[in-house]
Symmetry: C2
Subunit: 804 residues, 2 copies
């Protein structure tokens, strides 16, 4: 379904839906999802239906499902892990007299939903006239507490309009909700049927509690609710529960203008270890704390948390209201996915849907953590601690694969490899270098080496060991890595993927340097100088193929001599749903930035001319069938001077879900692309690089953005960068010293806490003209002011009457 501008007017701090479109429910449920990284609630309607995908998730709570293979192979994972739709506590059903409030019946006179990114709430306002002609106004405000990890809360108000009415509220907990049928798209998660086994149900004074357990993974879950009620007259209460449901019923009469208000406190706890009574008490304690805090207290805590977040994270984009809204939307959801994850994974779709089975991929370390490291480093550290906690599983996976060290999974919830297609799973060993890079970035950016000492060094050492056992020195001494898959999933099991080789070399050097920094810890891990010397030898001898005839880097050995893809004949995207791998792999067709990503993450390994030529070459062959691509193309197009094209890509990365550009927002949001909207702006137009261990910036704006202002944490400083078309102003706050030497436009620049430093923008002249993309895969054009091209067939854009 298309999401049109009218339904979502562009506002800088809000996402507002002005009318309810039932066809868009799957997408809006994802867009309006609330989460704190521990609990995730899809934006389902309070009354539960209609729905696109009912969804309540707890980070790390999964069920095991068998992975079937028509032809088995050694080392194929036998068990998958799937995120579970847990007990739904969002449900508040309303009966107006004897008619259930259902937007499909009666007359929906108005309906508005607002996601407030500063308040951290989802507000819904509806006026409804029942089939019998009774009119009510319903207002609900929902939050998942950022301050109280196990808690969500809903304020639900119903007001009589016109006639007197009797209203009945049924506030519920429901386990094992019905799920919609799965799609034929392999990217859509397998949906599990009745995954929860009932253990206990209890009814309390004004609430209830349900305990369930998954059958195979053996995880236990407690969900509790309690209610505060505010009514004008007599109110009746009733409580009831069964194995899979619990209900608190509130009945009262309302005169016109009178309101019944309930606040529903909703607490979750789960564990693989703790007992049933312990979980029950944990949920009860969360409820007690919530009642103590009260609704307004929760709202205040929420805003305070977000004020602090935005103070370090906000990006201001003058001149492009869409991107302004979208980058905040992206940052908000990145924050939601990670804030209180606390040693659980950040999934590819956060806690917003069941897409990709709820798995975490390299997206987490590669796309999401860079943003968090600069804006919310505690969340980055927690995610890295989660990864390190799975090191033993990665070590046994490496042993299974006859490799040294540790091999982290391509996709997982709890740490075990769950990828059932090894050419784009196990073979994508680069995930290990991506993880190592994330640890190193955290250390470089925060200046905090406690994480490295407590768990990072072991990860660096065992990933280095993996690489050394995976690569080999050929007879001429070059160090090569064969049979691996880089980021681009349309080319797999190749030799000397440039991205992988550069990242592996960096992993080896980083590990060797870290061992030098911590000789005692290295010794405990059994690392001697011979081993680190071997790592450095391999890194120094790494083979980087180069096509001298064309003057470009092949993505992997021989890539530039593969058959060209016929982009005139094969125009159904994404290609993976219309073309077999056997045709895609050996052709020069690219799903996503790969060599181009290498130029971003290992920027120093390429000359400016190489970057320009490579961008020109790969732009023509990249389909962007992966949501991980546009942000990287934005960054590199900006670097080589194609600023307007970079702006187009930044828009695409940022608007991927707000405009449903990949047609699967209904399965959950694309966290990496949302994080990428920050990256496109900050690394693209801000020129942020850190691959040489220094804070390097080099802003240059496209014509459609008049001013870009963003904040970064660096060591204990906060740096604000404000760029216009002509100058850049650096403002330094806090910090251990009064000065910081950064790199501006390639040259050292000292900035101080005394006063802002202004520097001129270095003009960027592209070496080559802007490259074309495959026919039909041009990005939406942003640089024609006041006009958005309609070439992109996926969305319909109507004038919204608001300034762009």
């Amino acid at each position: 379904m298309m999401i049109v501008d009218d339904a979502f007017p562009v506002e800088p701090w809000l996402v507002r839906e002005t009318e309810l479109c039932l066809d868009l429910l799957p997408q809006t449920e994802s867009l309006f999802a609330l989460s704190n990284g521990h609990i995730g609630l899809r934006g389902n309607l309070d009354e539960g239906e209609p729905y696109g995908l009912p969804g309540t998730y707890l980070n790390g709570f999964y069920e095991i499902r068998p992975l079937p293979y028509a032809e088995a192979g050694f080392g194929y994972p036998e068990d998958g892990q799937s995120i579970v739709d847990v007990t739904n506590g969002k449900l508040i059903r309303l009966l107006v007299e004897d008619e259930p409030f259902d937007v499909r019946y009666g007359d929906l006179l108005s309906h508005e939903r607002i996601l407030d990114m500063r308040a951290g709430t989802l507000t819904r306002t509806a006026e409804w006239c029942s089939p019998a002609g009774k009119r009510v106004k319903v207002t609900s405000v929902r939050l998942v507490s950022l301050a109280q990890r196990g808690l969500a809360a809903i304020e639900y108000v119903v007001e009589a309009v016109g006639d007197d009415v009797r209203v009945t509220l049924q506030s519920e907990l429901v386990a094992n909700e019905d799920q919609p049928a799965t799609s034929g798209d392999p990217r859509v998660a397998a949906v599990l049927v009745n995954p929860l086994e009932p253990i206990q149900h209890e009814v309390s004074d004004r609430g209830a509690l349900l305990i369930h357990r998954t059958r195979s993974s053996g995880l236990m879950l407690a969900a509790a609710m309690d209610h505060a009620v505010d009514a004008p007259g007599r109110v009746d209460f009733d409580g009831d529960a069964g194995a899979d449901w619990a209900r608190t019923t509130v009945v009262c009469g309302l005169k016109s203008g009178e309101r019944l208000r309930i606040v529903k406190y909703l607490a979750y706890g789960w564990s693989s270890l703790r007992s049933r009574p312990a979980l029950r008490d944990q949920a009860a304690a969360a409820i007690a704390a919530a009642r103590y805090t009260g609704w307004q207290g929760l709202l205040d805590e929420q805003r305070a948390y977000l004020d602090a977040f935005w103070d370090c994270a906000d990006v201001e984009v003058d001149g492009d209201a869409d991107c302004q809204q979208a980058v905040r939307f992206g940052l908000f959801h990145v924050m939601q996915a990670s804030a209180r994850a606390e040693r659980r994974a950040i999934a590819g779709k956060g806690l917003t849907g069941t897409g990709y089975d709820g798995h975490t991929f390299w997206d987490s370390e590669g796309y999401v953590l860079p943003v968090l490291t600069y804006t919310a480093p505690h969340a980055a550290a927690d995610a890295l601690r989660w990864r390190a906690s799975t090191l033993d599983l990665a070590r046994s996976r490496a042993r299974e694969l006859d490799l040294a060290g540790a091999s982290f999974p391509w996709r997982t919830i709890a740490g075990e490899e769950c990828s059932a297609y090894w050419p784009a799973g196990t073979a994508a060993f680069h995930v290990n270098a991506d993880i190592a890079m994330a640890f190193e970035r955290y250390r470089v950016v925060t200046g905090d080496d406690s994480l490295e000492k407590s768990c990072g060094l072991a990860v660096l050492v065992d990933t280095a060991r993996l690489w050394l056992s995976l690569g080999h020195h050929d007879r001429h001494g070059a160090w090569r890595i064969d049979g691996v898959t880089g980021p681009d999933e349309y080319t797999a099991v190749v030799r000397d993927n440039v991205f992988t080789n550069l990242m592996a070399a960096a992993n080896l050097r980083t590990a060797a340097d870290a061992c030098t920094r911590h000789p005692d810890l290295a010794c405990e891990l059994g690392v001697g100088t011979e081993e680190t010397a071997a790592w450095r030898d391999a890194a120094d001898a790494v083979h980087i193929p180069y096509d001298h005839e064309l003057g470009v880097h092949p993505q992997c050995e021989g890539f530039t001599t593969l058959r060209e893809w016929d982009f005139t004949a094969n125009t159904e995207y994404p290609l993976l749903l219309h073309e077999p791998y056997v045709r895609l792999y050996p052709a020069q067709v690219i799903k996503q930035a790969d060599l181009v990503l290498a130029m971003h993450w290992q920027s120093h390994a390429f000359t400016a001319e190489q970057k320009a030529r490579n961008v020109d070459y790969y732009e023509r062959r990249t389909t962007r069938d992966s949501s991980l691509s546009a942000c990287t193309q934005a960054v590199m197009c900006a670097e080589v001077g194609h600023l307007e094209l970079a702006h187009d890509y930044a828009y695409e990365a940022a608007l991927i879900d707000l405009r449903n550009l990949h047609h699967n927002t209904g399965d959950g949001l694309h966290l990496a692309s949302l994080a990428g909207s920050w990256t496109a702006l900050v690394a693209g137009f801000g020129g942020l690089r850190d691959d040489e261990g220094v804070l390097a910036l080099d802003p240059h704006l496209p014509s459609g953005i008049s001013r870009l202002r963003f904040r970064l944490r660096w060591r204990d400083f906060r740096v604000t960068v404000e760029a216009t078309h002509t100058s850049v102003t650096y403002t330094l706050r806090d910090g251990p010293h009064t000065t910081l030497t950064i790199r501006h436009a390639g040259e050292p620049l000292e900035i101080t806490t005394d006063s802002p430093t202004r520097a001129p923008v270095r003009p960027r002249t592209p070496l080559l003209p802007p490259p074309p993309q495959p026919a039909g895969r041009e990005p939406l054009r942003r640089h024609v002011q006041g006009h958005t091209s309609s070439r992109e067939p996926m969305i319909t854009v109507r004038s919204s009457g608001r300034p762009k």
Copy 2:
């Protein structure tokens, strides 16, 4: 289980089992399988149990099963095809008084089974003393008629020994037999449970009929039985039937020395089109014809058929009794798998078991048809006609894959692709060139171009079109094929696999030449001179990588620079059950002859020195984890002068099932390896080559074989080649002319029908010393006279008291 020499004394025309070993039942059922290419009966005991794998098969009769994928992909086949264990008509249960004859109870005083390769029968003799002390002698002779395609027959005789006894025979038809649990080995076929839906059952005077249908594939099957009975006194008959069974019961009393003899006639018919009455009548007609012929008539027909076969096919091996027996065993089963297949496929395991789901692979055209083309060309033509009948399916598969022409399946029963793992399925496009080669060999060897005209040309044209769309000319004009898998399944999805490129080029040239021969037919297929010119251009420009530093051909681009496999650390074979593909693919470890196979099939494309160096290089890296390898290694080791090593490999190819060398003979015989025993002797020690369109021979024997004599059909001639260590005698019979020019030892030689021609053996001096194999993968040594090494851990060899 091991098969030891004692249990199978070596006899030139018989395979004799002297005692019944229940642990060996799975293997002996395969070894003693009888078939005519249409009906296949595993060598199950008459009384049905104990069994390893009950099996009755009809060629082409299969059920559809879904192919599951944990991660789906475009173009993955959704349906598999599995051979079905059809209605079992072999069953004859015997009760001695009231005790069932079961070899596990009472005393089995003697038990012998003999497969007679000239009679075409399986004879069983058993003396048994029942738990109650009653003694009988049972003799059964079983045949699947080579003369009457729909017919099998069993003569069953029971004789009282000592006491008088009442004997009861229950002769049965049983559908939907219980199957043993499947193994964890991915090569073992999925076993189907209750695949047959009952349609009709009928009891006749002394027999019965059952009709069933498969649920998904909708194939209908009729099985009928009738009996002739010969008894000394009063006999009672009874007939009964249910949905899945029918029974004829015969009761009589026997005095000591008296015998009850029944002949059971068993008829099968199946169809996807014909009606139930038509099938019923077809089975009844086969029974009527059998009764008319009588048991002795069937035996006579059988022997006459085999006399004719052996006259053109026999290979005599003096000095190596094991190989003598084994090559006849191989030829016998190749004949059985194909004799009356008549436009059905020749499966990888014939009709001897459910291994590989009963699928046919490239083995058929690549390994089995060369033997048949020289020994039973009508069977080769039938198999090729079957392949051509699936051309439309191959065309639509090519369209699905966005390719031109036709893409034949990697594995199938009915023609649809059933391979669920594309890197070793769809990507193994060489199957198309192998098919083209088989058509061309048939034309060259038989001189008959009617097959080419009726169906071969269309296959050649559409496979040529496939190759042209699959390969591409690179920027230097070289024609390359990327992303395909050659014969070696431990290296997949590679570029410029030498075998594939050479075979594709040959396919293109063959197609172009065939179009020149048949311009009108070519025109009907839409082939113009521009298209054939493009085929020739590609073939002429084909890129054959060569490693100039090492002086060897890499199996594919870059192969010789891949990581070496550590054969000291990884010694569990077959490696595919102990190592992941992600490790095997990018290493220099080879499952089976690939480059070495190219040197056999495209012999003219390599110099003698290249062959010697390549054999030396690849021998060190080949595990022979595929049964398709040893015969090819025999051929090429012989060519480069490692005659003793070639002899070892010939033995391995020939004895693969008689000694259960691959541990899975119980799932069915390895038809390609059995055919390969002929190839090892005739192409290896006989030096047969035909890749340049002439009959080339160049015999040279290993020390352990004193004389080798084999027969070939060439055009309408029969050629007998008799080689000793010093000379070769060519005898020409029949034929359209009186002379034939062949190539002997590289030089033209005219032979005539007047008298045998004698020529000296060309001494073969190896360029290099015999190469070593990976540790633990040396073949069993044959060249130490009178002694067999025990290094091979799979079998235990005890002295058999017979000359070797």
